[in-house]
């Protein structure tokens, strides 16, 4: 259900409950909606859902999230005012099982709408590499690639510079956020932190796509490497045969004359194939 539709329905419910004076229903709805919104916020930020079964209150959940973000980013997700509202309303709601005064319900709905406005970035989302260290699709091709090491080396050279820049931006953002909360700056701050973590961890993940592979451009680029696999297969085969013959020489040293011809031919072919492989990759890099 879209946010707009939910909002219209909620307004309709508030209206009708006003008419019927059913504050209890409004109280319950306000708490459920706020709880759902908090779970959504928490999960989007990479946190677990509220542990209702263990008796974790909304207040506990909000303060835990705030503590974690204070520790990591020196930022608070929820304002002191919001936490104060929950600290005040939640115990009364729990004790009276929904029978709370209208001023608390109003506070809860205000809190819910504030939570809806809180735009939090998805910390599960992978940070695209394109903007950082080159094309991800091209990195895919580097599984057996000879230039993999070089690319890695380049990336290693850039990493400290990138990290320094990100840390600087992150600090600047945090200072600004301490003075005044701005959802956009907050989002930027979390993204910077996520980018920093991604670079530091250098984690390898798959390319996430939607729909059949045959329509995917990364896949079509990746197909090119199947020729390389063919070449690698041949290299593997000739080197294996060469090693078998060397082993045979150790078994039967008296057959050196016969076997040396075979070993020269086989290692010669594997050398030629390795040469072709290098040429092939130089072409790909260009």
């Amino acid at each position: 259900m879209s946010t707009e539709i939910s909002e219209v329905k909620l307004k309709a419910l508030i209206q009708i409950c006003k008419e019927t004076k059913n504050n209890k229903k409004l109280a319950v709805v306000s708490f459920i909606l706020s709880s759902n919104k908090l779970d959504e916020t928490g999960i989007t930020l990479g946190f677990r859902k509220r542990n209702k079964n263990a008796g974790e209150t909304i207040y506990d959940y909000m303060t835990t999230i705030n503590q974690i973000f204070q520790k990591n980013l020196q930022l608070s997700i929820f304002t002191d005012v919001q936490i104060e509202v929950i600290r005040e309303c939640e115990p009364i709601f729990l004790m009276s099982k929904g029978d709370i005064a209208i001023q608390y319900i109003k506070k809860m709905f205000t809190l819910y709408f504030e939570l809806c406005k809180l735009k939090v970035p998805n910390l599960h989302k992978e940070i695209p590499h394109e903007g950082l260290t080159g094309s991800r699709s091209l990195n895919y091709l580097s599984f057996f690639s000879s230039n993999n090491g070089r690319r890695k080396k380049d990336s290693n050279t850039l990493t400290p510079l990138l990290l320094q820049q990100i840390k600087y931006l992150e600090r600047k953002n945090q200072e600004e956020l301490k003075n005044k909360f701005d959802p956009e700056k907050f989002e930027k701050s979390i993204h910077l932190h996520a980018i920093k973590t991604t670079i530091e961890q250098k984690g390898r993940r798959g390319i996430h796509i939607q729909g059949p592979l045959k329509h995917n451009i990364s896949y079509q680029m990746a197909i090119e490497s199947i020729y390389t696999y063919f070449l690698i297969g041949l290299i593997f085969l000739t080197i294996s045969l060469g090693i078998i013959i060397l082993l045979e020489l150790s078994y039967f040293p008296n057959q050196l004359g016969n076997l040396s011809n075979w070993s020269i031919i086989i290692f010669g072919v594997s050398g030629l194939l390795i040469f072709l492989y290098i040429i092939q990759f130089r072409k790909e890099v260009r």
Binding site: A12, L13, I16, N22, K24, K25, V28, V29, I32, L33, S35, N36, D39, E40, I43, T44, K49, K52, N53, L94, K97, N122, H124, K125, Y140, F143, G206, I207, H208, I209, Q210, G211, L213, K214, N216, S218, Y219, Q220, A222, I223, E224, S225, I226, Y227, Y229, F230, I232, G233, L234, L237, S240, L241, I244, I245, L247, E248, Y251, F252, Q255, N258
Partner: protein, 243 residues
Amino acid sequence: MNIKGVHIFKFSFLIGLILLFLSVFVEWYSYQIFTLEQELIVSWKYNIFWEWSSIFSDSPLNEALRPENLSISVPLNIIFLCFLFLSGYVILFKDIERVDSIIKYRPYSYVLGITLILNIFYVVVFPVMYLFPQELYFPFIQIVDYEQDFMYLYSIDIGYVLQLIAFMLIFPFPIHYFRTIYTFDNEKNNPETYLKNKIQDAQEPLDLDKLIAQEELKFQNSDRTIQEDDLNEIINLFIEGDS
């Protein structure tokens, strides 16, 4: 190279499978002795299922010079044949390019991988573990013994050659299949889907339409007690959790 290019390697993989299948039923190694006048006096051919066989069934010299059995594990050969059929099934009916969710295709990539590993096993292990201990040379060796006027010919045979050719034909496709599945896993590890499911699991059910309808009924002086019971149930569920 477009997607059609992959089909060439897919086809070569199929040809490779056929060659591997045929290789199991033909001779892998040949051991022959000739006189210096080029007369064949001893001939033994090796097959991985029925060991050594000869065209000279009643020659005492031929029998006397019979090499020892190599004893390649028959269950392993049967497993190899099973994987050949499974790989054929995967290649014909489990096309990763046309599906939306390739994550389910991971087990098939293992099937292709195991077939390739078994092929490598036969190519590498057969000479090292089975031929050399029996003093059978690899790949082709001709030894002339002038004292006995014999010429010994040791050589790999069509079965082993088919294994080598098949290796070249099949190697690229399993690697491509495996790499594609592990690089383009598009469902299980998709953060968007994962997040959406997690949020959905965490949400307390709240049917606003139902609540509105109940209030409207109440507004029209309908049965109030049922609605109160419903509301109490929702409250209890919310406060006490799922347990």
